[in-house]
Amino acid sequence: MDAIDFRTDPSRYRHWRLECEGPVAFLTLDVDPAGSLFPGVELKLNSYDLGVDIELADAVQRLRFEHPEVRAVAIRSGKDNVFCAGANIAALARASHQHKVNFCKFTNETRLAIEDASEHSDQRYLAAIGGPAAGGGYELAAACDWLMLVDDHRSAVSLPELPLLAVLPGTGGLTRLTDKRKVRRDRADLFCATEEGARGRRAVEWRLVDECVPPSSWDAKVRERALALAATSDRPAEAQGIALPPLERKIGDDAIAYPHLRVALDRGRRLATVTVTGPTQAPDAAEIYRQGATFWPLAVARELDDAILHLRFNEAELGIIVLRSEGDPAAVLVADALLDERADDWLVREIRLYWKRVLKRLDMTARSLFTLIEPGSCFAGTLAELCFAADRTLMFAGTRAGDNRPAAILTLSALNFGAYPMGNGLSRLETRFLGEPESLQRARQIIGVSLPAEDAAELGLVTAAYDEVDWDEEIRLMLEERASFSPDALTGLEANLRGAGPETMETRIFGRLSAWQNWIFQRANAAGPEGALKLYGTGRRPKFDPERV
């Protein structure tokens, strides 16, 4: 497979149409069967692969930034007799385990982004299920606020993964049934074990959908519901959106360059070093709209997001991501102050929410994350979140002989205390200090204070501080040691340690549903030569190992 590119825009969509009509946008799924990322795979019945979902993620993102006037989005099908048949099985069967897991993670992130848009950006989502919605098709609908199902005595919603494919509805399906839609567990059990799913009144009664609508009034009702959802939104009707032009990006053999971020790829050491550059000049409130996508906080968030996705999908063997920064921490703090003071501005709100999602994307990245705070770095406020997202953060104490840059500092801003909650609903600092609330209190009191390494270490904000004498060797040993451990065990270890704190639907999706799904994906009952995924479509019945594990 060629390298996967996450950059797209509506003019290049093959599978979706995005049409805005005042406060309502229609996002129409009309999958091009010949447009799979996997050569030879036919995307029948609006089934999707990663390529389809990349477009969806792009659309959801653009709707937020480019269309402040859109208050409700209706997801519908462009095909007559199907809403969406879910993830394409032939593509799944072709994909490596690594791709399956990352695909699943990305689609989950996109559905959570839909829910985030509704909950925090007041951009509501409506699922207009005008035909059968199976598996991932129903899961996509379940991410919306309101699910309407056409009552044509034919169209059903279903989660047939278990009976049909011997896997789970892994794109949040199981979790949303119980946690979001609060479907009774025995009914959920019945529903998930029934290939044909549920239609009409039963689907409503079981809370699988919110309403059933006869075909005759379908179009009118969809519009009516969309407008009703739009009415609950606070999005500014008069505001002008900002365009998200294609990211500038140069990919070389061992480096990727963006305007504000670069990635050095060291395949020998299985290491990617991501260096974020701070703002070249302090951002100015008056400039936010004029700068638009070049406004530093937004530009960096987009580049970081793209870099993470690129590394996840295209550089599977680079097991360690080292996070660095370069620039003036004071300028970062000016940007943070803007993001803090103008939190009510719709665009600032979007930027903050985007940072939240990017950081969560980092949290969910199955690579060892090490942040290095060195002289010349600008880990302050929002960028300091990279220190708290990392598995370990090392800080350079003092200066280096022959380097006239001042000693490294770490600075907190108000945004470190709630602007960017993790999947568990808590800030990274709150999660870090779950067992020592007094440390969180102390951290609050030093907002804006430039902390040298000794202080940062003393406050528990970094893992360790090393001076010139130790730095190079400690870092080398840490990276070499990490590279020597089992990548699988590291993935498990990191996911567990990063996931402290309370459970939410989101943590349950990634921590429970995905983990089980990834296990099932590895088992012969699903993925073996006689397994259900492999035999799907051949007419042959899978052979199951009867042993319950």
């Binding site: 360790a464 090393y466 004498v469 130790d470 060797e473 400690e474 080398r476 040993l477 840490m478 990276l479 070499e480 040691e481 990490r482 590279a483 020597s484």
Partner: protein
């Protein structure tokens, strides 16, 4: 930097590691050094710190540098950091990395394993100094007193050698471990030394000689195995330590030999033909051979425990990783990878002692222990030659490996020195046949009276054949202060 930066470290600390040009290492040593001197004063030889001791000091690794003799007050001893010369193009001699270039830096992958090896070895060095700290008060001669102190300062230098590795190559963790080496205390209930034998008392000179014969030989075997290491600085450090270790074993070999010689001579002079007639032999003021045998039993078993479990995953790991080889790995003709080889191990199976072939990688502790036992047995034969020359019918021997063990296959059972399994009651009943009894210890203790006149020796030990550094018999090896 503190004002100690003015110390000329190359002058104060003999070294061939470019100490003055390595600020990182110097700084680490500077902060460790005062604690070390405190340790030496508090836990090193009790008394004698102001005496002038005729010691050899290693100031270089070439033939004229490694043994400079002269009178020195022990606290002024110039503990140095000396590595055997680097071998150009050296490769990793064994394990999964065999044939790759030897590591000059710690491979991150093996950082923890290597640090553990260095810490365990390092912990034994000061431990023996602590165990022997009271012996100066009862030395049988100035010659022996000097040898004790020579062993002590060299063990302390071995501590330096390991501290050097920790500080130079293991970053902050290494420095913390170096401090810990000074903090643990032999026999301390709260912070004992890491290995059992190094927490045992060395109450008398017979024990001291046994310790240097057996336990220093374990040290030698471990150093030999580490000298093969693919981590070149460890290899070079250990190779140089081995030159010193040889003297320690000489002290043990000849110390016991001189005791045996004196006991036999006394028996002959008195016309005693039965060496097991303990009371009559003891009445002569010398140590009877059966008591020497019991002491050997005790020290041999304690030392075997130092080799760890017969079947050891850890030993396999460190070998496979290229960190610790076998005794004289470079002289062994096999593939040096051992993934397909087996080795015979004595094991306990269903209450019987049997020999079993096991994967060679997991039996590396056993192999090193066998090499040790073979060498120790050869040393015992030299003592037997002395007994035979005196015309006494008695043989010293090594007990069975199952005897009195606390670690490994035989930790849970009791056996006599022939390897016959004993019930717990029988062991209790017969223990004093095999191991020194309270009365034996009391008798040996009663002989421990210092002799401080040059050229004179306690009546239970013969003088050595030759002096140290070619000195005459009445040479004043230690000039006692005050």
């Amino acid at each position: 930097m503190s004002d100690s930066a003015t110390v000329d470290y190359d002058g104060l600390i003999p070294n061939n590691v470019g100490l003055n040009a390595d600020p990182r290492l110097r700084r680490a040593l500077e902060s460790w050094h005062p604690g070390y001197l405190d340790w030496w004063r508090a836990r090193g030889p009790d008394g004698f710190q102001d005496s002038l001791v005729y010691l050899r000091t290693a100031i270089g690794v070439d033939s004229d540098g490694w043994a400079k003799f002269g009178y020195v007050r022990m606290p002024d001893y110039r503990w140095g950091i000396l590595l055997a010369p680097q071998v150009e193009g050296r490769t990793i001699p064994f394990g999964a990395h065999k044939g790759e270039k030897a590591w000059q830096e710690v491979p991150g992958e093996y950082r923890a394993l290597l640090r553990r090896l260095v810490v365990v070895q390092g912990d034994t060095e000061p431990a023996s100094v602590e165990q022997q700290r009271l012996l100066g008060a009862t030395a049988p001669s100035l010659y022996d007193l000097r040898n004790l102190f020579q062993v002590n300062v060299e063990e302390a230098r071995h501590l330096w050698a390991m501290v050097y590795l920790l500080q130079k190559y293991f970053g902050r963790d290494g420095r913390e471990e170096a401090e810990e080496l000074l903090r643990r205390r032999s026999g301390d209930r709260d912070s004992p030394r890491l290995l059992g034998a190094f927490n045992e008392a060395t109450p008398d000179w017979l024990s001291f000689f046994m310790f240097t014969f057996f336990t220093d030989r374990d040290g030698k075997m471990q150093l030999q195995a580490l000298a093969q290491s693919g981590f070149d600085p460890l290899s070079r450090t250990c190779r140089f330590m081995l030159t010193e270790e040889a003297h320690h074993m000489f002290v043990g070999q000849t110390g016991i030999g001189r005791i045996v010689e004196r006991s036999c001579a006394a028996m002959r002079e008195a016309g005693l033909s039965d060496p097991t007639d303990i009371e009559r032999v003891r009445a002569l003021g010398v140590i009877d051979l059966p008591t020497i045998q019991k002491k050997a039993n005790l020290h041999f078993a304690l030392t075997l425990d130092l080799f760890g479990g017969e079947i050891s995953t850890n030993a396999a790991n460190v070998f496979n990783a290229g960190l610790k080889g076998r005794y004289r790995e470079d002289k062994i003709a096999d593939d040096h990878v051992l993934t397909g080889a087996t080795y015979a191990v004595v094991r306990l199976r269903d209450g019987r002692i049997v020999t079993e072939e096991v994967p060679a990688l997991s039996a590396l502790n056993m192999r090193l222990r066998d090499d040790f036992a073979a060498e120790a047995a050869a040393g015992v034969e030299r003592w037997n030659a002395i007994i035979a020359r005196a015309g006494i019918a008695y043989r010293l021997r090594l007990p069975h490996v199952a005897f009195n063990r606390r670690i490994g296959e035989f930790a849970g059972i009791e056996a006599d020195p022939d390897g016959n399994l004993l019930s717990a009651e029988e062991w209790q009943r017969r223990r004093d046949e095999f191991l020194p009894s309270a009365a034996d210890d009391a008798f040996v203790a009663s002989l421990m009276r210092p002799v401080t006149e040059p050229g004179k020796f306690a009546p239970w030990i013969a003088p050595p054949r030759t002096g140290i550094d070619g000195k005459p018999g009445d040479f004043e090896y230690v000039r006692l202060a005050g």
